[in-house]
Amino acid sequence: MAVIELRDIRKAFGAVEVIGRANLTIDDGAFVIFVGPSGSGKSTLLRLVAGLEDATAGQILIDGADVTHLGPAERQLSMVFQSYALYPTKTVRQNMSFGLEVARLPKAEIKARVDGVADILRLGDYLDRKPRALSGGQRQRVAIGRAIVREPVAFLFDEPLSNLDAALRVEMRIEIAKLHQRLGATMIYVTHDQVEAMTLADQIVVLDKGAIQQVGTPMELYQRPANLFVAQFIGSPKMNVLAVRPDGSALVFADDSRADFGMPVPPSLAHIGFRPEEVQLLPAGQGHLQGKVEVVERLGSDTFVHVGLGALGIITSRMPGNVLTISQGQPVGLGLTMTQLHPFSRDGIRLS
């Protein structure tokens, strides 16, 4: 149980600044997910919290206590690594009890805790095996078990599922969600995976180039992205963005076509964004923009239609179900709704 606070945290490797002035408060019991492109500093930020890296500047507080200069174990956190990092020469039981032995807990208590956790994670039958005799999913559960037995104040996960195949990933995702409900512990979780982020998180922290871009619930990020980066990073297929300039109550696109919504347009507007489900496909000649269907992707549950707009590029429209009336090469009109548009300034900052 812990509130974790980062205050003006900076991290540089030599002259290269990797994390710049991060401020973040993670509530007690929250499930917080760090997402961002590769190299954005997710792992570094997590390792700073873990104490595996020293902060160049700033403070880290756990439940109000300054832990900036404490080692990993003294922070009472547990971490699950992407590679599992199980001790290969130890059995599953020894892997889980190692940390408790280091902490010199009584033997009986160690046994009780390991047995209890093995029970939760269905590892009872494997306690005497070495990691190499386990499947990927079992290894992952051992790694999680090793984190749980220590009864840490918070759990840290660095892409724990990325080595598993797709089916197992879904299964483990649900197990982790259940675990969070059951333990009620604070969890920080790094992932590349949109779906993991959207489904698991209470709060998502979006990182880019070592800076926190936005912190919010999955729906806040989806519905009100704070900038163009978040807008395009969250959601799949990603948000369509078109450059525009305001002209009274009309928008003028880069190819000088106009769309008049009959409503006031913010004067500093430079880009509009709209999700694939926020654009309507209409018969040619209708709507605000005209284009031609270039590719149709049918997933069964959804149909993604990629429409070429000439000089404006390609935008994507998503329609539920398998839409049979659309085919490649067909000219179409696109209908937008002013109230659903995401307005951004020249610097990519959300307006309104």
């Binding site: 873990a50 595996l52 080692g71 990993p72 174990a73 956190l77 547990s78 971490m79 690594f81 992407q82 590679s83 599992y84 990092a85 199980l86 001790y87 290969p88 020469t89 130890k90 190692f98 940390g99 280091v102 902490a103 070495k130 990691p131 190499r132 005799a133 386990l134 990927g136 290894r139 090793r146 220590r150 080595n163």
Partner: protein, 293 residues
């Protein structure tokens, strides 16, 4: 055009395989002949040694007599030499392998001030033969009053730069950083992580360095020659050489040549035994399973 691999049935493959076999056979003969000479020589009487064909046994099989002479000569000093060699080389090898493992681990897993320079020094030291350093080391150790003690042979042998280099490369590969970090998260200190997690994963590397250092020390001649001057402290190499020089000067009687040969043969046996014993540590794959590749 498609790329066709050489299959076991293609003419080219067969030709290459014949060539390879021929080259390796030549190499085998080249390395095995001297050993075979030692084996046959150890079974001959002193007259036969010079009068019969060197690469085959003489009619008169004298191995047991030669062994008896070897182990009784000068009140059984050969046994003393063997014990000395075993003592010097096992202590040196274990020590050298341990230090090489510590150093290799530090180079592979820690960043510290002067690391690059120290690594360069180790690499440079690999290229300097110990022989070149023996005289300065003798002067140093004699100032410390350590010559003519086992330490005079053991201390210099604890420094084994090729072992450091080998362990550095091996550890870099065999132990992932995440594994060490997992140990840190579990609250273990650095030495505890090294001894209870890393070390057992390093056994194949450790065994390799151990055997290399063991053989190097077992065969070392120049260092003990310079450091020791009491015959009952000699290792086999120096002792046999002394017997040999007695033999060519003729003072100890000519029968000594076959005894030297028999001594050489006996001195190889423990090295071969050591190889066979250490073999089981080369199983490899110890790290498999803990960390997903």
């Amino acid at each position: 055009m498609s790329i066709v691999g050489k299959s076991a049935h293609s003419a080219k493959f067969r030709r290459n395989r014949w060539l390879l076999t021929a080259i390796l056979s030549l190499y085998f003969i080249y390395t095995f002949l001297p050993l075979f000479y030692v084996i046959t020589a150890a079974t001959k009487s002193n007259q036969d040694l010079f009068s019969t064909f060197g690469l085959w046994f003489a009619a008169d099989f004298q191995l047991w007599e030669n062994l008896e002479t070897l182990f009784t000569i000068q009140d059984g000093i050969f046994l003393k030499w063997m014990a000395n060699t075993a003592y010097y080389s096992s202590v040196s090898a274990i020590g050298a392998a341990l230090f090489a493992t510590f150093a290799g681990y530090a180079f592979a897993k820690y960043t510290f001030f002067g690391k690059k320079l120290m690594l360069a020094l180790v690499l440079g030291a690999v290229m300097i033969p110990q022989t070149a350093l023996v005289i300065p080391m003798f002067l140093m150790l004699s100032n410390l009053g350590l010559t003519n003690t086992p330490l005079a042979v053991i201390l210099p042998s604890l420094v084994f730069p090729p072992g450091v280099f080998l362990m550095w490369a091996y550890i870099d590969d065999a132990i992932s950083n995440e594994l060490i970090e997992a140990g840190r998260m579990d609250g273990a200190g650095e030495f505890h992580i090294f001894s209870s997690i890393a070390f057992r994963m390093l056994m194949p590397g450790f065994a390799t360095v151990l055997i290399l250092a063991f053989v190097a020390n077992w065969n070392n001649y120049f260092l003990p020659l310079v450091m020791l001057n009491k015959p009952d402290m000699f290792p086999i190499t120096v002792g046999l050489a002394q017997l040999y020089s007695t033999a060519i000067s003729g003072t100890g009687g000519v029968l000594l040549f076959t005894v030297v040969m028999t001594g050489a043969l006996v001195s190889i046996v423990p090295v071969i035994a050591a190889f066979l014993i250490m073999q089981r540590f080369w199983q490899g794959g110890l790290g498999a399973g803990g960390v997903k590749a």
